[in-house]
């Protein structure tokens, strides 16, 4: 009798080692303290005094747990003793008390005003359970192996009886409470009862599992096989089947999960054969699949307290305990194998076991890094390219296509706790490559739609349900539809000293329905910058803050979807400003203020919605030129007011046609057809004497520059072009690249004369079914050739859309060998190099450069030069997106420092400090990641809920059933039959 008990105790002996305390208490508590302090830092400004006291209490409690665990570990280790039942009971009580306290105080700790994107209270509680439950489980396991004087069979029988009795008592109590409402239990008593019952249940279950294990071992090989068969194979498969009906805590319905479950089960079921080498191989195989068991154990561990409810709610609810049982059996299999097979050796088996256990996680990690390498190359080539240097993709196109298909499969598949976020962290730094971008990338490299290539297969492919469950990221459609009108826009002075600052106070009124959004475009000249933004919330005019643009847009969407008070000001890709304010109640009026700043000599007009607003002229002398120089960075901006520009000599430059020929997969005309098309187009523009040719798909080859009448030369060059027909046609990127190359070569002489005296007119020649995949932002390039703001596209010989060539005149400026061209009326000229000290202007009449005649004045105020630096950085990023990884952070900092918004940043008004803090964290994450990545998928608009009534057949069935039921009920209760009237 004593021996039986001792056997059971021996089963848990391995766990009594003091080092386990380090793994289940000290380390998890340290991590949890770090996480909780991070959460506190984010929301502390929103917390009420009671909340702060509660947070302090929680922190001290955690400190106590951490100290107790660590001291106990140190003491046991010093005395070389194992943990006893007193320490186990103490740990169990303290950890449960901690969880109890945290859950009961969660409402005070995280104020109700905190939005989920700032801090998700559910996630915070989940973390507490994740990091505290190992200690609870460990202590419970130690306690469950206590000795009794009972016979093992009676002991197990009693335990089993109690295990069944507790849920039954609960079931009865639930029903009584439901039937008889007068049973007024206080919430605390009920909670205590729940915790005690759950704990008892857990202890009993562990005790029974240990007893069953020992019993099975005693029975010999057959007993062990039967036990491991049930626990290792049948119970996990049953659990997975239950999971297909109730996807809790996540949807695990993927072939890979079933396959691994079966393999793991089989490896556990196979008995040892007596051959040492074979048995050791089997032991290593069990170590290999242990991470799989451990993963499911850890995923379900926080939900172990729910096992009682799971059993009450559904008979098969006990399957929630399958991972725990599997974990115990798997641990014992490895532990027993170690004792039997390794004769007390330590180093070799431990190294082998750890090595085997790391194989699956290592394979997954390596695979994620391989995906990251392939995807990064493809993503950077498309979304962060150096337009001039990267004209040919230097990776394998097939590898890129495969990686994209794999990513698509992964996104369409199941999302499981820990693993999905781990993969995402490695590959995308915790961010998301949106579906639309994955599809676009695939289209670019393959020339076809992803949906055509995707088979829908894959080991992690879910059965169509995971996708549905993932797509809950939706926004209200109503937010966009109702009109909010601008009632007034008043301009006021906000200071001037060599520059002008004007504030426009905009009053908006909602003429539509509840929760409407104000959205308006504001067109401003390029020399006007935004230096301030405010939104009136309540009676207070809350100043906006500058953040990285995509972060601010994401946060605005998050706040807007929660019906709070955000205001957002951004630059759109075409360079216009966009103002959004939300929400508006019916007939509500709200006020927002925008501050504009511009240098002296300018008198800008802006257009807000359909209203023109004159900001008024800046003081100081007419004819002054302001230069914003960025020392050491290269380049500067020159502001030329209209008054000064009218004294500068202008020139009319000669256009030439630059053809971008479509070499994408199976879409554009055949190479032999291009010369004829070029001839037709040239015939439309008799003044054009030369043409340049570029072959393009997602790669680019310059074919050459020819005399427009040299048809034979053009034909030969096209026929000799080596660019393979594949991928999609990126015409806009080809234009950007050619523009940058034109700008770099403006100083050189050409057959038409000096390089800067000619300008390109781009014509993309393509087919009807061209696969185009441009995601363009052309605004940074339109200033290179002021005469032509974009490019023309002609499809299968249609020249009607080409329009006429521009007759605009321009001013050509030079500084230290760097050329810049600006419009006739003056505005802003960007110089890629130089410091603006020796300015010259081209005099077309004399055919030479002469001094500008006015000395550029340095921009006044501290802010303006900083702002100009931010703008210069922004221009450099737009023209060379590969610089963004390093330059974006600098631009954002300059923008913040100067208070002036640039296209890479945005002004946003948020309600409180906690939102701002979360934004700061999000911004850091964004600045460390690739520009192509986003925080989440594009939200889907919420389809209105069509609360359709049940069909006629269902309604008729209801009515029929009602009659039958009522009649049957009456007949039964009162034995009444309908009398004849």
């Amino acid at each position: 009798m004593e021996t039986d008990s001792a056997n059971r105790t021996a089963a848990a002996d391995g766990l009594k080692k003091s080092s386990f305390l380090l793994w289940v208490i000290t380390i998890p508590q340290a991590i949890l303290m770090f996480l909780n302090l991070g959460a506190y830092w984010v929301i502390k400004s929103e917390m009420i005094p009671e909340g702060r006291s509660a947070a302090m209490y929680v922190f001290l409690f955690q400190l106590l747990l951490f100290t107790c665990g660590t001291l106990l570990y140190a003491d046991l280790k010093r005395r070389n003793r194992a943990a006893n039942w007193i320490s186990a009971a103490l740990l169990l009580a303290l950890n449960i008390l901690y969880l109890w306290n945290f859950v009961s105080k969660a409402g005070i700790l995280v104020p109700s005003s905190t939005m989920p994107w700032v801090l998700d209270v559910g996630e915070v509680i989940y973390y507490q359970f994740i990091f505290v439950m190992p200690a609870v489980f460990y202590a419970a396991l130690l306690l469950s192996s206590f000795k009794t004087r009972l016979d093992t069979r009676i002991d197990t029988g009693v335990s089993l009886l109690l295990l069944v009795t507790i849920p039954v008592i609960w079931y009865v109590l639930f029903n009584l409470a439901f039937v008889n409402r007068s049973n007024d239990f206080s919430a605390t008593i009920v909670m205590i009862f729940i915790v005690v019952s759950t704990l008892a249940l857990l202890l009993l279950l562990l005790r029974i599992l240990l007893a069953i294990y020992m019993w099975a071992v005693k029975l010999g090989r057959i007993g062990t096989i039967v036990l491991t068969y049930f626990v290792g194979l049948i119970a996990p498969l049953g659990g997975l089947m239950l999971n297909s009906l109730i996807p809790f805590p996540a949807d695990f319905q993927a072939p890979a999960v079933y396959i691994l479950t079966v393999i793991n089960g089989i490896i556990l079921v196979i008995p040892q054969v007596g051959n040492k080498a074979a048995d050791r191989a089997l032991w290593l195989a069990r170590c290999l699949t242990f991470p799989f068991t451990l993963y499911f154990f850890l995923v379900f561990l926080p939900f172990l307290p729910l096992s009682l409810f799971a059993m009450i709610a559904a008979g098969t609810g006990f399957l929630i305990l399958a991972p725990t049982a599997l974990f115990i059996i798997h641990c014992r299999c490895i532990g027993d194998g170690y004792v039997k097979l390794w004769d007390g050796a330590k180093a070799v088996p431990i190294v082998l076991a750890v090595g085997a256990a790391l194989i699956i996680p290592a394979c997954f990690t390596v695979s994620a890094f391989i995906d990251k390498a392939s995807l990064s190359k493809a993503v950077n080539y498309v979304y962060s390219p150096d337009y001039v240097k990267q004209s040919i993709y230097n990776g394998s196109v097939d590898a890129a296509k495969n990686a994209l298909l794999k990513l698509h499969n992964y996104k369409e598949g199941i999302t499981v706790p820990f693993i999905s976020s781990y993969y995402n962290k490695i590959v995308f730094n915790g961010m998301v490559l949106q579906d639309s971008r994955v599809e676009n990338l695939y289209k670019i490299f393959s020339g076809e739609e992803l949906s055509k290539a995707w088979s829908g297969s894959g080991l992690l492919r879910a059965r169509g349900r995971a996708r549905d469950m993932r797509s809950r990221n939706r926004v209200m459609s109503s937010a966009k539809t109702s009109p909010v009108e601008m009632v007034s826009a008043e301009v006021s002075d906000a200071g001037s000293a060599g520059y002008a600052k004007k504030r426009v106070t905009i009053t908006m009124k909602n003429a539509g329905r509840e929760n409407s959004e104000f959205n308006a475009d504001i067109k401003v000249p390029p020399y006007v910058v935004i230096s301030g933004y405010w939104l009136k919330i309540g009676n207070e005019l809350v100043p906006g803050s500058i953040f990285e643009r995509k972060t601010a847009m994401w946060v605005y969407r998050m706040i807007r979807d929660s019906r709070r008070d955000p205001g957002l000001l951004i630059y759109k890709p075409d360079g216009t400003l966009n103002l959004s304010v939300y929400p508006f109640a019916t007939s509500e009026e709200r006020v927002t203020v925008i501050e504009f700043m511009y240098p002296s000599g300018f008198s800008p007009d802006i257009r807000m919605g359909d209203r023109d607003i004159s900001l008024g002229s800046a003081p100081d002398a007419e004819g002054s030129v302001s230069a914003a120089v960025t020392p050491g960075k290269g380049g500067f901006l020159l502001y030329i007011p209209r008054g000064c520009a009218k004294n500068l000599p202008v020139v009319r430059r000669k256009p030439y046609l630059h053809f971008i020929l479509d070499y994408s997969k199976g879409s554009g005309p055949q190479a032999a057809a291009y010369p004829e098309r070029i001839k037709e187009i040239c015939a439309r523009f008799p003044d054009v004497s030369s043409v340049s040719l570029t072959a393009a798909n997602f790669e680019f080859i310059d074919i050459g520059t020819f005399n427009a009448k040299d048809q034979e030369g053009i034909r030969k060059a096209i026929m000799a072009c080596s660019l393979q027909r594949r991928g999609a046609f990126l015409k806009e990127r080809a234009v950007k690249r050619s523009l940058l190359m034109y700008e770099a070569g403006m100083e050189a002489d050409t057959p038409d004369g000096r390089g800067f005296m000619r300008y390109p007119v781009f014509v993309a020649v393509t087919g009807k079914d061209a696969v185009s995949a441009d995601e363009g932002n052309f605004s940074g390039f339109s200033a290179i050739v002021p005469e032509e703001k974009g490019y023309h596209v002609t499809v299968t010989g249609d020249t009607a859309t080409l329009g006429a060539l521009s007759a605009d005149k321009v001013v050509v400026l030079r500084s230290a060998g760097t050329l810049a061209v600006c419009e006739e009326g003056g505005s802003v000229a960007y110089f890629g190099a130089g410091d603006g000290r020796e300015m010259e202007v081209y005099d077309g009449g004399k055919g030479e450069f002469r001094p500008l005649g006015v000395t550029p004045a340095k921009l006044p105020d501290e802010k303006y030069p900083l702002a100009a630096q931010a703008w210069l950085g922004n221009i450099r990023m737009e023209r060379n997106p590969s610089l963004a990884s390093g330059l974006l952070k600098e631009v954002v900092e300059l923008s913040k420092k100067s208070g002036v918004m640039v296209p890479a940043t945005a002004y946003i008004v948020v309600e409180n400090e906690s939102q701002k803090r979360r934004m700061e964290l999000k911004e850091k994450q964004k600045l460390k990641s690739s520009q192509a990545l986003s925080f989440d998928e594009n939200p889907e608009e919420i389809e209105p809920l069509e609360a359709s009534a049940p069909s006629f057949a269902v309604t008729a069935l209801c009515v029929f059933l009602s009659v039958v039921l009522v009649r049957k009920f009456r007949r039964k209760q009162h034995s009444l039959t309908l009398p004849r009237p």
């Binding site: 549905d468 797509s471 209200m476 309604t955 069935l957 039921l965 009398p979």
Partner: protein, 173 residues
């Protein structure tokens, strides 16, 4: 067939045919009589305003869940069936003249009950949607709405029929 059953079936059939063809004669009956009342009552209980859309349906923005109350949600057919049932029941216990006299009050009663039941169904749909959106795949939502609607209609019909029969059977049950 006993006389009272014939009378009941006759009156019920007339009630059914007359009412079911009502939208053919007055197409706006769905919108003006049913959708409007249900939308207003639902918006009152949900605490969110109901707006009229262009297609004469109504939109309730139930704190993040936009609900359309359109012709398909009017539960007009339920009203017709309920009226048929109640009229048939009344005619079963009373002579035909009294049944004809009761036609209008029963019509009003059926209207009130069906609007109340439909309002409860719309409100339940919002809650079902919220719970479903958090826990269940999209595919299940439609079935869930149908089940919720059927459960409510069944409950309301059982209660209405039981009370109505007890009240108007004249002790002849």
């Amino acid at each position: 067939m006993p006389g009272n059953t014939v009378r009941s079936a006759f009156i019920a059939a007339i009630a059914f045919v007359l009412l079911i063809s009502l939208p053919e004669i007055a197409p706006s009956v769905h919108g003006k009589l049913f959708c409007f009342s249900v939308a207003k009552a639902s918006s009152f209980f949900l605490g969110s305003p109901a707006e009229t859309l262009e297609d004469r349906s109504y939109r309730i923005d139930a704190d993040g869940v936009p609900v359309n109350v359109s012709e398909a949600c009017s539960a007009f057919r339920y009203f017709v069936l309920l009226y048929t049932l109640l009229m048939g029941t009344y005619a079963f216990y009373h002579p035909i003249r009294r049944a004809v006299r009761a036609a209008l009050p029963v019509l009003l009663l059926s209207y009130v009950i069906s609007v109340a039941a439909n309002t409860a169904r719309v409100i339940a749909s919002v809650y079902v949607y919220r719970i479903g959106a958090a826990m269940l795949p999209v595919n299940y939502e439609r079935a869930l709405h149908m089940c919720a609607g059927a459960a409510i209609f069944l409950t309301v019909t059982i209660m209405s029929f039981a009370v109505f029969e007890r009240r108007f059977s004249g002790g002849n049950r």
